[in-house]
Assembly symmetry: C2
Homo-oligomer: 345 residues x 2
DNA sequence: CTGAAAGCGCTTACAG
DNA sequence: CTGAAAGCGCTTACAG
């Protein structure tokens, strides 16, 4: 493909015997152009199939109208919905999205951030990877004066805009609900404790136990249960205990909860009568399993829109009005069959 | 946020008393710089926290190292995986992805394409929306000398690179399998016939019937079954017939197949003994339903990688070697419980 | 190996 | 309302 030269404002200017300045003005719908010539320019642009070169325009204007998004995985329901939500809101404002996935790798996350900085994006939206303990790269974003919005998994110590879920409260409600249903030995599949949200979920779990004066039993708390397979493995371990739990809160994810359900079925534990199960995230499939799985909805699409709108607000404000720096969205406990011990299946 | 000025190559040049040319050369690892000064420049760049301005660089070089992707929906498993696959392959080559979703709207698709053209992306990857009958906007991409790769839902008449699935073959195999299992009245939930892939799937269905000398019964073919709800609606209609079908091929999507399953369960049709069900796409949930749903896997992540690599090949080739313009990936029939009439549930 | 200069395509103060 | 000119930050032929 030989890159045939595209039409520029010079081509239009030449053809009409006006200056590029006027063409630019017309194209930007400025008032400082004669109405007649403006129309003529617009018409000619159309004829010559003119397309503005956004790179040039942005370079000159010192902005990019682009938002960078870094997520652990694009092809995970929760993140896909976040992105769809952001896209939905930014699209209307003429913004573009550059998407990067960290694949939960610290190294790739750093590299993604650098790419986005080089691209001069106006804003970077990120949910940090599990591997990321160090946040120099995020500090770097701030140093470059790029707006930074963290969501879901956030680096607490960095003072940035944040859109989060109240994980602690949601987890508390989930476990509280299970206790109310009559479960007495509730196990926890927990996420990596270097990540904020997983610490919070554990807190909620502990809080609910405390409220009901239920002792914390260490052997009922299992680490490293991230995937379906790991969730299954943890469950096998739990259900083989001399005194197995009568409920499992897969606080790390619905995928993990799915592993729980499969092992439970396999080992002939009746759900929910012998074993209650609660997951996290309200993945589509939780509604479809049998029994359906109780879980926590995070309103991901809405969260995406919120993130985008937060950015636009911050831009408009220009430091005149103070905007809240942290928006917490209350997730919702979705009670399904897998924890309905009382009311029967 | 007052945009504090970023470090440019001029700042580095000034500090070291060399010209911007040399700085640029050093930064691009050119051989035409003294090794010592190169090292010095690199070190200083680091110190001053220099970040290249990709916009400026690209403008000058007349490329963007950016690929635009337009899909109907980001938050649909199939497309999310395609995107993840593309990202995985392009990332390694230092390319960025700009993502747009058409939301199945023609208008938004056109607008997305225009944005991408303005951004001077090097390549546009698209799966057209259901609404898109007109393909002027795609022709426009070609006219601007931008590489265009269509995938999945393609505009046949446009001579572009294409990565597709052999929908006809896969559908044939699915229906053939159902017939082998002993189903005799197989209904079809079909997709919009203005879209290529849905026409092909119908063809495969008809072909399988023909092979086994089974007559085509018009009332067993239902249009407009896109979503779970519409699939359910179509199924209710089918199962209420005086002579209802004994199997339903939800060729349009797994979501539709899910609707079929729910209505069947509701109306007390035993699956698979009284009613066989086959979907399309191998969405995660098809493995989890009870019974699990037979479906067709399209290798979406792999398709994404293929798309990206096709682009890179085409770039390298530079018209010297001829590359195949259409890559067809053979999907795989995943046989699960919902069609296992013979071998029992 | 290095510098001076032009230019990628646009926008915008400045002057009239 | 219009033009001439400078400049966004970089790269790259050209000359030495």
């Amino acid at each position: 493909m030989k890159p045939k030269k595209r039409t520029t404002i010079y081509d239009i200017a030449q053809k009409l015997n006006v200056t590029p300045s006027s063409v630019s003005r017309a194209l930007n719908n400025s008032n400082y152009v004669n109405e007649a010539t403006k129309k003529l320019i617009l018409k000619t642009a159309e004829e010559l199939n003119y397309k503005r070169n956004t790179m040039a325009s942005n370079l000159r204007k010192g902005q990019s109208k682009t938002i960078g998004v870094v997520v652990p995985r694009i092809n995970q329901n929760y993140f896909a919905n976040i992105i769809a939500g952001i896209e939905d809101a930014t699209y209307k404002q003429g913004y573009n999205l550059i998407i990067c996935q960290s694949n939960e790798s610290y190294e790739k996350e750093v590299q993604s951030i650098n790419t986005l900085i080089n691209q001069h994006v106006d804003c970077i939206v990120i949910s940090v990877s599990i591997e990321s303990n160090n946040h120099k790269h995020l500090q770097n974003v701030l140093d470059q004066n790029i707006q930074l919005i963290q969501f879901d998994r956030v680096a607490d110590e960095l003072e940035t805009l944040k859109v989060i879920n109240d994980n602690e409260q949601a987890s508390f409600e989930a476990v509280d609900h299970m206790i109310e249903q009559g479960y007495k030995r509730i196990a926890l599949l927990e996420g990596p404790q270097n990540v904020d949200i997983f610490r919070q979920r554990k807190k909620g779990y502990l809080q609910a136990l405390a409220k009901h004066n239920i002792p914390v039993i260490d052997e009922l708390i299992v680490e490293n249960t991230w995937t379906k397979e790991l969730g299954a493995k943890g469950t096998r371990q739990l259900l083989s205990l001399p005194e197995p739990p009568d409920a499992i809160f897969a606080s790390v994810s619905d995928f993990s909860a799915l592993g729980v359900l499969e092992v439970a079925t396999d080992m002939n534990f009746k759900v929910p009568s012998q074993l209650g199960i609660c997951g996290y995230s309200n993945e589509d499939f939780t509604e479809i399993t049998s029994p359906s799985i109780t879980t926590i909805d995070q309103f991901s699409f809405y969260m995406g829109k919120t993130i985008a709108n937060l950015y636009f607000q911050e831009m408009e404000n220009n430091d005149t009005v103070v905007v809240p720096k942290i928006i917490s969205i209350k997730p919702k406990l979705i009670i399904r069959s897998s924890t309905m011990k009382k009311k029967g299946k």
